[in-house]
């Protein structure tokens, strides 16, 4: 048992046997909004292991987004410890964080965030360019990944030629293509109708079964219940952290 975990929560956390990927302990985050100081996170500790399927829930203003930005290495904590695969992320500079994001984290956004003028294939290749893969390797891996999410026949379509569900599949392929340690999805079904949302969650289930580590940030209970573990936030603190059941 990690001494950094809040004692009252420690017993309820499920611990898969996989190695530790994310180790956050006592993390706080302060924002200055004009004169006012906002405590977005007031001391959060979470451990996430390989091949976990985790949902982060909480109402708006709970610190959910801040925690997600922190987990995604888009932001660094004001205080506290954050280790990603044993590396101290809290003190990293911009470009080091960019490399971690490139290699270790796959982002899936609510609004898909695809490059509008690039084909599905070019969108999926983008992280591989930043990783320094050769054009032929990029192409091969991107095609393989798009086939894996069921878009093998849509390689050369641009986002405006694809349906919402297909766009999100392209985004998921883009998140997967660099074989990251975690997939971080922010309201992945928020811009989709419920039927397409179910399809996307089925795809997540498939990815989880293939051994990926998934973190889904959502405010929808239905979506969160697809995960195996739910972390609930309120007022910048962890309210509960336990298995779905």
């Amino acid at each position: 048992m990690s001494p950094s975990l809040a004692p009252e929560l420690a017993g309820r956390v499920t611990r898969p046997s996989g190695p530790l990927v994310i180790d956050i302990a006592g993390v706080t985050k302060l924002y200055k909004m004009g004169e006012e100081i906002i405590h977005a996170l007031r001391g959060v500790s979470v451990q996430i292991h390989r091949n976990e399927y985790l949902a982060i829930m909480g109402p708006s203003g709970s610190g959910k987004s801040t925690l997600m930005n922190m987990l995604g290495c888009l932001d660094t904590p004001t205080a506290g410890r954050y280790e990603f695969n044993g590396k101290n992320v809290a003190t990293m500079v911009d470009d080091e964080l960019a490399d971690i994001r490139n290699r270790e984290i796959g982002f899936v956004f609510q609004t898909f965030n695809l490059l509008p003028r690039s084909t599905a294939l070019a969108n999926v290749e983008l992280p591989l360019i930043y990783a320094g893969y050769s054009p032929s390797e990029r192409r091969e891996r991107a095609i393989h990944t798009l086939e894996n999410v069921g878009l093998g026949s849509r390689l050369h379509h641009k986002p405006n030629e694809l349906s919402g569900g297909q766009r999100q599949r392209v985004a998921i392929a883009r998140a997967l293509v660099n074989k990251p340690s975690i997939i971080l999805a922010d309201e992945p079904t928020g811009n989709l109708d419920s039927k397409t949302g179910v399809e996307i969650m089925a795809l997540f289930e498939q990815l989880y079964a293939q051994g990926n580590t998934l973190i889904v940030v959502t405010h929808e209970e239905d979506i969160a219940r697809h995960a195996r573990r739910i972390v609930r936030l309120r007022d910048g603190l962890i309210e509960s952290d336990g298995p779905v059941g």
Partner: protein, 416 residues
């Protein structure tokens, strides 16, 4: 390193996709650069042309000829110190030649007297006014750089005998005879008949001030007979080694003082002029024109650069969310910086190439319409304008691109 190459390739791809997607906007922005590049390169061709004109004109004077005259070239402020100098006499040239002969290892080769006045030349019914008539000796042939397109210069016998023969400048021969050969024809020089024995090939005008082709050359003795030499002459002295102009000039001053029998300590009562001194006077003027011209045209390029900067700021603002996405996917600061810099440079380069093409067309058109206009299009101009385009792109694109590269990914992703 390979990663950088891939990123650069991607940046160029994105830049051209972006330019294609915003055609009108890109064209309008590039227009500013086009105008700037056209203005600067046209100025460059004009400066190159002026420079070439200067060089050509100075070459007409000859870089191995010194001019002994009453007045210095380029004018003086204390004119009263010069006005009372005795005029240069054609006889001074003969004396000078004797001094040169007596001097061992002289740097001076020969002194040639030249008297001149403006005359009209009449051939049949056709008349050419304002022709500069030069009276000189047969040694004149050793000075001039131009060739004869027809005929020859008068010989020693004709010169000494003051025969009524003349050599015409190209324009004087061309106009009244209209393509016919003027050789052996008779022309009236200020009412006196002269036989044409030669035509000098075309030389052009000196700084556009007076034409070397608008001349008639006659023997000095004939000049003395029909016109007056009292107004004085000019002595042109050819030197043996054009790399030792300064020494030759010193020797000539000494020789001329002997001819004039000037006492030691007395100031020279003549001037030795040379094209080098002329060049020294012209160079600052030339540089002034170049500097002022480039500054003024540079302003238009500056306006173009502001356009580029503005459009890059707009582009960054429009694509803030894309920047956030790229950063989330692992783009480093330099990746984003390069992407927008390359976009700005690409627009500038397109503008630069278009501007250069336009300049080339204009130079051809001007050259065809006004052959006398000194315009010069050169390869170095191509390289310079490409370099200027790239630098403009980098300078004007840097501030917005740097701002983009420093964006906080969290803020950029949230931007709508």
């Amino acid at each position: 390193m390979t990663r950088l190459v891939y990123e650069l390739t991607e940046s160029f791809r994105i830049a051209f996709a972006q330019i294609r997607a915003n055609k009108l906007r890109s064209v309008l922005t590039a227009l500013g650069v086009i105008i700037g590049i056209v203005a600067v390169t046209l100025m460059g061709t004009a400066i190159g042309g002026i420079d070439k004109g200067f060089t050509n004109s100075l070459a007409m004077l000859g870089d191995d000829v010194l001019y002994v005259e009453k007045w210095p070239w380029g004018g003086v402020e204390d004119w009263w110190n010069y006005a009372n100098r005795p005029p240069i006499r054609p006889e001074d040239a003969e004396k000078l030649n004797r001094v040169i002969e007596q001097t061992p290892n002289s740097l001076l080769e020969v002194a040639v007297p030249v008297s001149s006045r403006g005359n009209s030349v009449k051939a049949g019914e056709n008349k050419v006014s304002g022709v500069q008539t030069l009276g000189t000796t047969a040694d004149y042939g050793r000075l001039i750089t131009a060739d004869f397109s027809e005929g020859r210069l008068f010989n020693e016998t004709e010169a000494v005998g003051g025969r009524p023969v003349c050599v015409l400048g190209f324009d004087v021969a061309e106009a009244p005879f209209q393509g016919r050969s003027p050789l052996d024809e008779t022309v009236m020089l200020a009412g006196h008949p002269f036989t044409v024995i030669g035509v000098v090939s075309k030389q052009g005008s000196f700084l556009g001030l007076f034409s070397f082709d608008n001349q008639a050359i006659i023997p000095l003795e004939a000049f003395r007979k029909y016109f007056s030499v009292r107004r004085g002459a000019q002595i042109r002295v050819k030197i043996t080694d054009k790399n030792r102009v300064a020494e030759a000039r010193e020797e000539l001053i000494g020789a001329m003082r002997r001819v004039r029998a000037q006492l030691p300590g007395e100031r020279d009562n003549f001037n030795v002029n040379e094209q080098g001194a002329f060049k020294a006077q012209l160079d600052p003027i030339k540089q002034g024109i170049a500097l002022a011209g480039l500054f003024i045209t540079g302003l238009s390029l500056f306006v173009g650069a502001i356009g580029i900067m503005n459009i890059t700021f707009v582009s960054v603002k429009e694509r803030t969310k894309e920047i956030g996405t790229r950063k989330a996917l692992g783009a480093r600061r330099r990746t984003i910086l390069l992407q927008f810099l390359i976009e700005a440079v690409s627009i500038c380069l397109i503008g630069g190439v278009a501007g250069l093409a336009l300049t080339y067309g204009l130079v051809l058109a001007v050259g065809a319409a006004f052959p006398a206009m000194p315009v010069e299009f050169s390869i170095s101009l191509v390289f310079v304008s490409m370099a200027v385009s790239i630098i403009t792109g980098i300078v004007s694109g840097f501030a917005p691109a740097y701002g983009a590269s420093r964006l906080d990914p969290v803020v950029a992703l949230r931007y709508e």
